[in-house]
């Protein structure tokens, strides 16, 4: 047996030395700048606590929400050269400018910058840094005037006179203990201010600094990292005051920015040599795809809350990349399996053999040589002794020792069920193989390369299926099997325990479903198992086999066929052809990394990922080898931020209130979801509490238009998500009030009601009076009519008339006939006008004439009717003048001795009848009814009075003429 192995080893181990060193690359993305920033200088960048990025440019302060840039206005600060940005503990944003002026925004939702004005005046030199120390003192570094410290009360200056190495400060960082560290051309200094006293401690070459010119400074933990002009980087421990210069062989030129997120892992931006990565004391140049020339000036670095790196390139461009994902373009074509051996070796299994590669701290991938030519390697494994097990398709398993010598080979001839090996694992002294026809257990002594025994298990031995995708050993040394169609099984004490079904929470309560195909299994740091299933996504099982988590589409998983499932330390990593999804069990959030990380169109094989202990997670596509390592991040899902609220019907004026008038009820709310990793994938859900429809509305828009809001109290709530599952997303809100119009206010309604009642009351009163008046008038008229008729058919009048008639007939027949005609005319007129309210004055005068001509027969010349000349215009009540004349005749003596003169005259708008008072011997009984009825009739028709006078023996009645124009 050993002889055959030896023979094969000579035959198959014809190794090829592969030339080539493959550089690690990061996928870089350029941030599209707005047009007005083209050609402008970008001095600095800052991530605010709400995730919004701020940029200081030669054209003012800009903020960027992943979607667009906006310039922050601020009067004279609007287009200043912003050289420094800082967020203080109270969330005010401070900026420093090239001229030394300082501005601030009161909070993260402030709409504008305002100048910072203090008695001492602002510095007169470019502000190179602002930060707040642990005591709350705000420090302002300048290039030319040293450092200023603002205690909230007074501004103090630290300069060369006080012992500062130089007045030109390059960088300033907050010290871990108190105060700040600054860097100059003449070394470093620690400045602090306490007990009203300035403290300065300088560090220069005299104390062991390799170079006094320190253009870059960074603080991480207790270490102050410095970047020198030409000696690379190092650090000072503030606890021990130890100075450790890290780069002894530095070729990167002048450092210009630094950023460390682990004790010995970070980036160095240089002035002319691009970006460098520092890891475990080794500096290596960073390469990017799409390519950057490597000669760039990297002046500013920020690692944001999502773990994304931002860099300012050549003071003109902004680039981002994810330092968590690195790749090497291996150029080997299809890779079927991979193995990660400690921190420096990688084996890649291909259809034509095995490629061995070495990773230097470059981190360059050196393809060393090929082994097992012709072997179709589909699975790889290594044991604790660094022996490599290469499972092939149809050719069994080859075992190589740590020097890549073949030490064993098992195939069907050795006793395996099948020569195709899908998966390999070890369990104490056993090696387990998943073949296409069941599983095999091999007792193997790696030290002596002695195969002791091979035991096979098939369906007949209790296996749920003969087709096992993966054999996996958990930390309790239990063997797990990922089966084809029958879920998972675990082998404990030589017996199989099957988990063919899972109980999942469905829409109709818990549902027990068959698991079906399980492609792979991995274990997390808490000893829980994660299964990659064909139809239920990724299922997490606790150690008793109970489901505690299911990651599928409802959780936002967008991957279809996961090829690699692995645990990276605190996250679960899932990879498929379109990218990578990271599940954070603590926050139950999923992060998708796609094109931003350079992951696109990956051709991946099931075993082409490293699912085992190692430094992060490795997986390999046909083009590239990828390495994912966790970068400290504090945010795993987008933060919704309400950016501004504007009133649409008032020229989109930005408001800082939440009280609106009834007619300010069309609002536009702009919002953003801060997610720099994949800003283009942001989805929003919002709702308006207080409106009729309070359901969540999903949108990709960055604005919501709220039309026609009725008066009331509202809250606009917004969530942002990258995958459309909003259940676990944080939300933010904006509460506001649309006030009632004044006519809905209680006082207005009360006043209106009072006025309505008052008007109604007045109207009713008025109507009542009118109706009363009308009925009174009607009554009066009837009375007057009656009185007239009564008067006119007064027997006395008739008696006299008939007497007159009788006398006249004898004397003059013609005259008698004339008399009767007059009498008949008169009576006809009485009947004619009896029912009419008003007649014209001329008609009335003709009645009087008629009447007088009747009287003439009786009284002859003793009655003189003196009718004055006037133009008869206007109206009178019928029979008024006739009645007055009749009255005069009735109450006065008419005789030859005392002839009666009745005068009818016009005075202004009155018609008057007057006569001298000639008291009769026989007084006729007067009822006074005649005059009174005239008065009453006139009262209804006019406000003018009927005048009755007796003056100097003259009785006068004046009647107002109606309707006299």
């Amino acid at each position: 047996m050993t002889a055959i192995v030896r023979h094969i080893s000579i035959l198959w181990l014809i190794t090829t030395i592969l030339p080539g060193q493959i550089l690690a690359q990061y996928h870089v993305n350029e941030i599209q700048l707005p047009e007005n920033l083209a050609g402008e200088r970008i001095h600095c960048q800052f991530e605010a606590s709400n995730g919004i990025m701020y940029f200081g440019t030669s054209e003012g302060l800009y903020r960027y929400d992943g979607w667009r840039f906006e310039r922050i206005p601020g009067d004279q600060l609007t287009s200043q050269d912003v050289t420094s940005i800082y967020e203080a503990e109270d969330h005010s944003i401070w900026i420093g400018t090239g001229s030394g002026a300082i501005g601030l925004m009161d909070g993260l939702d402030a709409v504008a910058l305002k100048p910072w004005e203090i008695e001492e005046g602002h510095p007169g030199a470019r502000i190179s840094g602002i930060c707040q120390d642990q005591q709350g003192i705000l420090w302002i570094a300048t290039y030319g005037e040293g450092v200023y410290a603002w205690t909230g009360h007074r501004l103090y200056n630290f300069n060369q006179d006080d012992g500062l190495p130089a007045n030109e400060i390059y960088r300033m960082v907050r010290a871990p203990d108190n105060g700040v560290w600054i860097s100059t051309d003449l070394g470093l200094a620690h400045c602090s201010f306490s007990v009203n006293k300035k403290w300065i401690r300088t560090v220069s070459t005299a104390l062991g600094l390799p170079d006094n010119i320190i253009p870059a400074l960074h603080v991480h933990g207790d270490r102050i990292w410095y970047g020198t002009f030409d000696q690379g980087v190092g650090w000072i421990d503030v606890q021990s005051n130890r100075i450790e210069h890290v780069t002894n062989q530095w070729t990167g030129g002048s450092a210009s920015s630094l950023l460390f997120w682990e004790k010995d892992h970070g980036f160095v931006g240089t002035a002319t040599q691009g970006l460098w990565e520092m890891q475990r004391g080794v500096a290596s140049k960073v390469h990017f795809t799409p390519g950057l020339s490597g000669k760039e000036a990297i002046t500013h670095l920020v690692l944001d809350q999502e773990g994304m790196m931002w860099m300012i390139v050549n003071e003109q461009y902004i680039y981002t990349f994810l330092p968590s994902i690195q790749h090497w373009d291996h150029g080997l074509g299809e890779v079927q399996s991979m193995l990660y051996l400690s921190s420096d070796s990688i084996c890649l299994g291909k259809s034509d053999g095995l490629t061995l590669a070495h990773l230097d701290h470059g981190p360059r991938l050196n393809l060393l040589r090929k082994a097992l030519p012709g072997a179709n390697v589909i699975s790889l494994y290594h044991d604790a002794h660094r022996n490599i097990y290469a499972g092939t398709f149809g050719q069994g398993v080859y075992v190589l020792d740590s020097r890549f010598n073949l030490i064993a080979h098992w195939d069907e001839r050795s006793g395996l069920l099948n020569g195709s090996i899908l998966s390999i694992t070890s369990q104490s002294d056993y090696i387990w193989l998943a073949t296409l026809a069941g599983i095999s257990r091999i007792r193997f002594n790696p030290r002596s390369a002695q195969t002791v025994e091979i035991t096979n298990y098939t369906k007949a031995d209790g296996l749920p299926s003969n087709y096992i995708y993966q054999v996996f050993t958990d930390h309790r040394q239990r063997l797990w099997l990922a089966t084809d169609g029958a879920g998972v099984s675990v082998m404990e004490q030589d017996t199989f325990l099957h988990f063919p079904t899972v109980t999942l929470a469905g829409p109709d309560g818990a549902d027990t479903l068959p698991i079906g195909n399980v492609y792979s299994i991995t274990e997390d740091g808490n000893g829980r198992l994660w299964m990659n299933t064909a139809s239920h996504g990724v299922i997490g099982l606790d150690s008793d086999g109970r489901v505690f988590e299911q990651i599928d589409r409802t959780k936002g998983l967008r991957l279809q066929e996961i090829s690699t499932l692995a645990w990276s330390g605190t996250h679960l990593i899932m990879v498929d052809r379109d990218g990578m999804e990271v599940f954070h069990p603590k926050t139950e959030s999923l992060t998708y990394l796609g094109e931003t990380a350079g992951l696109k169109d990956l051709v991946l094989n099931l075993n082409a990922g490293w699912n085992g202990p190692g430094d992060g997670v490795w997986f390999v596509s046909n083009q590239s080898l990828f390495h994912y390592q966790e970068i400290p991040a504090s945010r795993f899902q987008p933060i919704p931020v309400i950016k501004d609220v504007r009133i649409i019907n008032e020229d989109l004026e930005q408001v800082s209130t939440n009280q609106f008038r009834y007619n300010q009820n069309h609002l536009r709310i702009s919002y953003a979801g801060i997610w720099n990793t994949q800003p283009q994938n942001i989805l929003f859900a919002y709702r308006i509490l207080g409106s009729n429809d309070t359901t969540w509305r999903r949108t990709r828009d960055h604005q919501a238009f709220l039309w026609n809001l009725d008066p009331g109290t509202y809250e606009f709530q917004i969530k942002a998500s990258v995958h459309g599952d909003f259940a676990s997303c944080p939300q933010t809100g904006y509460a506001f009030v649309i006030n009632n119009p004044y006519w809905f206010t209680w006082w207005f309604i009360a006043v209106l009601a009072a006025m309505t009642f008052a008007l109604l009351y007045l109207f009713v009163k008025w109507r009542e009076r009118v109706v009363n008046q009308r009925s009174m008038m009607e009554k009066q008229q009837v009375e007057a009519e009656l009185a007239t008729i009564k008067n006119q058919i007064n027997p006395h009048f008739l008696f006299n008339s008939f007497n007159t008639l009788a006398a006249t007939i004898e004397e003059n027949r013609e005259e008698a006939i004339e008399y009767v005609e007059h009498l008949a005319d008169f009576y006809r007129k009485i009947l004619l006008y009896g029912e009419i309210q008003k007649i014209s004055l001329s008609e009335e005068l003709s009645i009087v004439d008629e009447y007088c001509s009747i009287l003439k027969y009786r009284y002859g010349d003793h009655l003189i009717i003196n009718k004055k000349q006037f133009l008869p215009v206007g109206m009178v009540v019928p029979m008024t003048l006739q009645r007055l004349v009749e009255n005069a005749i009735k109450h006065n003596e008419i005789s030859r001795q005392k002839p009666l003169t009745i005068t009818i005259y016009l005075r202004e708008d009155y018609i008057g009848v007057s006569n001298p008072v000639q008291v009769k011997w026989t007084r006729e009984a007067s009822t006074g009814f005649g005059l009174e009825s005239i008065r009453k009739q006139y009262r209804f028709l006019t406000s003018r009075q009927v005048h009755v006078r007796e003056d100097k023996g003259l009785f006068t009645v004046e009647i107002p003429i109606l309707n006299k124009e």
């Binding site: 008695e119 005046g121 007169g124 300069n159 300035k198």
Partner: protein, 180 residues
């Protein structure tokens, strides 16, 4: 006063080669305490000072007992004895260096920030005081306004007169210098 003379003498020796210094020829220092119950104002014309245009160093001094113009003699007495303690601390001085790189040989208007030590009531405080300098035909006119916080200089106000004296005293200085 003696202290001041010493300072001037030291100055003279410190810059023996300096023949061109601006020496204060006429100056007024005025202060105002704007408290809820009482406004106290006083001034002194006995301000002395010197500015060296070459090094941008300066020194000012005023005798505390030269302030006059109080509302009444009792107020003046309190000022001298209780607050300023003129017997112990006869002068107030401010000396230091101008932060802004101005050329005080060229005529013009300059806004400068003077960084120096203000010694008042025996307590030294570093201050940055903004001033306006006008240089015209060999004459330098300086004017400045600043505040002094009594607590900073250990001047304690008895509870009883708390509402009569402001925490912050506003000071105005107007001075004319001639080249010497």
């Amino acid at each position: 006063m003696a202290y001041w003379m010493v300072t001037l003498l030291v100055w003279a020796f410190m810059f023996p080669g300096q023949s061109t210094r601006y020496v204060l020829s006429k100056g007024t220092i005025f202060f105002r305490s704007d408290a809820p119950l009482e406004i106290i104002e006083a001034q002194s014309e006995q301000l002395q000072g010197v500015i060296d245009p070459a090094t941008l160093s300066f020194a000012f001094s005023v005798r505390n007992s030269s302030f006059h113009g109080f509302n009444n003699p009792l107020q003046q007495e309190h000022f001298y004895e209780n607050y300023m303690e003129t017997d112990h601390y006869p002068t107030t001085t401010f000396s230091g260096k101008i932060l802004d790189p101005v050329d005080l040989t060229k005529e013009g208007d300059y806004i400068v920030r003077a960084k120096g030590i203000l010694e008042l009531h025996g307590i030294k405080q570093e201050r940055i005081i903004k001033s306006k300098l006008t240089l015209k035909s060999g004459h330098l006119v300086a004017s400045s306004q600043f505040t002094i916080t009594l607590q900073d200089h250990n001047i304690s106000i008895p509870r009883i007169v708390y509402q009569k004296i402001a925490e912050q005293i506003q000071v105005t200085v107007e001075a004319e210098f001639t080249l010497e």
